[in-house]
């Protein structure tokens, strides 16, 4: 819940006291010498003596209390209420590539509803041979696939168009998650109903009160779109569309309709509110791009970053972050510590895969001086993530959506970090 997690926002004060606590070990590079025997080692600790919790203490486990800061957070001033609103994945505190469902960002237009499997129906109608209704059980009987994809809200980084605004990777880049989905290709269901030759689009719609709907070209629908019911091995969470959501790989998150209730085959785009009033990108001259579905290649350093400052002083430092592309896979990420003057190829934790997050590392020896930290992604189509200036040259500052510019963190000598823009 965002309102009480607010209090736990990492504060400057916490940062400073955290830094003080490790102060002794932090001075100077190289192995630090202990001031005296460490009581955590020399004394028998409580946990080494008494027993811990039994197996059934938490039938469904949550992260240990010490990790309670690693939660979704929202930015209150962005929206009028939390029912039609967004919050952010704590990417600054995660590693690897899979986002746990419990802290994966949420975006609702009429709140997260509770729709049970027995009450679930999926209708496919429109320009089809036989309009059909499927139950949840029906869906489970179609051949299934497992695929890992990122889901990024088109508005991710949208607050940064006009300048550096929010101080933290969670807030600037946290409208993203990456999960392993199990589901049925939409193609299979469309073949089951039989698409008529006039059918060129599908209009997909959710069951919640916003009845969020989007038009998707038939070609994409027949390609890699999934009707998913599991994520990371377990049922979808209610906030992510339990029991069934659409997965539209590489394309903006708004199209990943949750609580999917209907797929209509149509001859033209419906031009719903979410593809006209919203999710269209206004250029400098006042004209707007529409149907900007694909998410451009992008990357961000998740640590160090404003919410994940360096607390250990000079010496070995793991610089890490995430990269992704809606057009294909990540082929490389370069990192700059001097604001983009020079670039060093980062190490990909694993080769990039199609439309999924890639983790990168730069194993750096920090000399304790200031850094202007940046990451730059390259994808399998040869696209190179642009700078903010390059992006503004084409798009101006009013696009709201699709801001995939290179992000800069100013790392100070203290290890603190701030969101900045550089020339």
């Amino acid at each position: 819940m965002s309102e009480n997690s607010k209090d736990k926002a990492p504060s400057r004060r916490q940062f400073l006291s955290g830094a003080a606590a490790v102060g002794v070990g932090a001075i100077g590079a190289g192995a630090a010498r202990a001031a005296g025997p460490d009581p955590l080692i020399t004394q028998v600790q409580e946990w080494a003596q008494a027993t811990g919790e039994g197996v059934d203490a938490t039938p469904y486990g949550l992260p240990i209390q010490f990790e309670k800061d690693v939660v979704r957070r929202n930015v209150e001033w962005l929206t009028a209420d939390t029912i039609s609103s967004i919050n952010f994945t704590p990417i600054h505190a995660l590693d690897g590539t899979i986002t746990p469902q419990g802290c994966a960002f949420e975006r609702h237009h009429s709140g997260a509803i509770e729709l049970s499997k027995p009450d679930y129906r999926l209708m496919i109608n429109g320009l089809v041979d036989t309009p059909l209704v499927f139950t949840y059980e029906d869906l489970e009987r179609f051949p299934r696939e497992n695929r890992v994809y990122f889901c990024e809200c088109a508005a991710n980084t949208g607050m940064e168009w006009a300048g550096a605004q929010l101080n933290g990777a969670q807030f600037t880049h946290g409208m993203i998650h990456n999960m392993e989905y199990s589901g049925v290709p939409l193609r299979t269901l469309l073949e089951e109903v039989g698409v008529k030759p006039e059918g060129k689009w599908v209009y997909v719609e959710g069951a919640d009160a916003s009845s969020n709907g989007r038009s998707i070209p038939l070609e994409k629908a027949m390609d890699d779109v999934l009707v998913a019911f599991k994520a990371n091995g377990e049922a979808l969470r209610k906030e992510h569309g339990y029991p069934v959501r659409l997965v539209v790989p590489g394309w903006e998150g708004n199209m990943w309709v949750k609580w999917l209730r209907r797929v209509e085959v149509t001859a033209m785009a419906i031009e719903s509110r979410e593809e006209t009033s919203k999710y269209t990108d206004t250029l400098e001259d006042g004209t707007s791009r529409k149907w900007t579905w694909v998410m451009d290649a992008k990357s961000v350093v998740t640590s160090p970053s404003p919410q994940a400052p360096i607390t250990h002083g000079p010496g070995p430092l793991v610089i890490t972050g995430l990269a992704w592309s809606g057009r294909g896979s990540i082929t490389g990420v370069d990192v700059s510590v001097d604001g983009g003057k020079n670039w060093i190829p980062a190490r990909l934790a694993a080769p990039g895969t199609d439309k999924a997050l890639t983790r990168f590392y730069l194993d750096h020896n920090w000399d304790g001086s200031e850094m202007l930290l940046q990451a730059r992604a390259k994808d399998s189509t040869g696209y190179v993530q642009p700078s903010k200036a390059q992006l503004r040259d084409v798009r101006g500052e009013n696009s709201i959506y699709h801001n995939n510019c290179i992000q800069t963190w100013w790392i100070k000598e203290t290890g603190e970090a701030e969101n900045v823009e550089v020339s």
Binding site: A9, N125, N167, A269, T276, E284, D285
Partner: protein, 346 residues
């Protein structure tokens, strides 16, 4: 048919998918009935496909809008607080801060009809009759100076209405307009001469933590007032006007669902006249959740304490309540809104 194939056909087909049987039908699902399609297939396309018959005029629209929409969108569709503005902004799209509304931005009238019909009013979607939707849409057009006050919108003249920004959109052209981003081999060394910091987020200071600190400091008078309430002095003395004022401000967060005062009606939530000190779940003509009814049966009374606990975390206080509201974080907001509610009887 071999024994193996029979087995496959008889078992759940999906259980053996080494070779997915695309193009074959599975025979799953059942035909959708015409009534079912009619109930769900409501979307309206730019060419008017999907519009039901009906009509509504600006005058009627103004009344319906005032009743169901103005609380959030303003009497003239100009928007209240952070709720969306539906009118104004013409000619601002190339400005630094464009105002995008139905009038200044939306390319198709079908979208307005469709969205109002299926998604509004917020919290009570799909409750409007087609004629009401026609009337509201006519009123929104009028608020945007697109039609005059005599105008009646119907399925017959629907396509005649010209939306000011109809020509304002182009299809995604990133592949050509941004072809230079496909550089493949970007610069690696000495890519620029100097680097200066040109803007800092800390200067703007809008990251959540700071925002919180700011408004806490904003209203010292209200904070002092709340101390007085905690001391329990408000029961005997008259209600503190400053508290009432503060509470009125806080009540903006409730207004989307609750009305209070003369002529208050039930909305998403019940009208709240005289609620402080009253029995819970007892306001006539409102359909409460099971949870609220159960609490009422157990004799819950909205004393200051109970209400404060409820307003702090509604869903935690009463599991299953239909009040979809995150809760008020600050004690002085809670105290003030209770005092404000008391000003409408207790």
């Amino acid at each position: 048919m071999s024994k193996y194939r029979k087995l496959l056909a008889a078992s759940v087909l999906g259980a053996c998918v080494a070779v997915p049987a695309y193009a074959d039908k599975f025979g799953l699902g059942r035909p959708a009935l015409p009534e079912e399609i009619a109930a769900w297939d409501l979307d309206v396309a730019p060419d008017g496909t999907g519009l039901p018959e009906g009509s509504g005029d600006v005058f009627t629209g103004e009344e319906v809008f005032a009743e169901y929409c103005a609380i959030c969108h303003g009497d003239f569709a100009e928007g209240v607080d952070n709720w969306p503005k539906l009118a104004g902004g013409e000619g601002t799209l190339a400005d630094k801060d464009p105002l995008k509304t139905v009038g200044s931005y939306w390319p198709y009238l079908s979208t307005v009809w469709d969205y109002v019909n299926r998604s509004m009013p917020f919290g009570n979607a799909q409750s409007l009759e087609p004629d009401e939707v026609y009337a509201i849409v006519a009123y929104i057009l009028y608020s945007n100076d697109i039609v005059d006050d005599e105008f009646t919108l119907s399925h017959e003249n629907f396509l005649d209405v010209e939306m000011p920004n109809a020509e304002g959109f182009i299809v995604d052209d990133r592949n050509t307009a941004e072809a230079h981003f496909w550089t493949s081999e970007p610069c690696m060394v000495d890519c620029k001469e100097s680097v200066e910091i040109t803007m800092r987020a800390a200067v703007l200071d809008v990251t959540p933590e700071e925002v919180e600190a700011e408004d806490a400091g904003q209203n010292p008078a209200a904070e002092q007032a709340s101390t007085a309430v905690e001391a329990g002095t408000e029961e005997t003395t008259a209600l503190d006007p400053e508290m009432i004022e503060h509470g009125k401000n806080v009540f903006k967060k409730c207004k989307s669902c609750h009305q209070v005062g003369e002529g208050a009606k039930h909305r998403t939530g019940p009208a709240l006249n005289g609620i402080v000190g009253a029995d819970a779940g007892a306001i006539e003509g409102f359909k409460y959740s099971k949870a609220m009814k159960a609490a009422a049966e157990k004799g819950l009374v909205w004393t200051d304490e109970e209400m404060a606990a409820f307003l702090a975390r509604p869903k935690a206080y009463m599991k299953g309540t239909r009040m979809s509201f995150a809760g008020l974080k600050k004690q002085d907001d809670i105290d003030a809104v209770i005092v404000y509610l008391k000003s409408f009887g207790s």
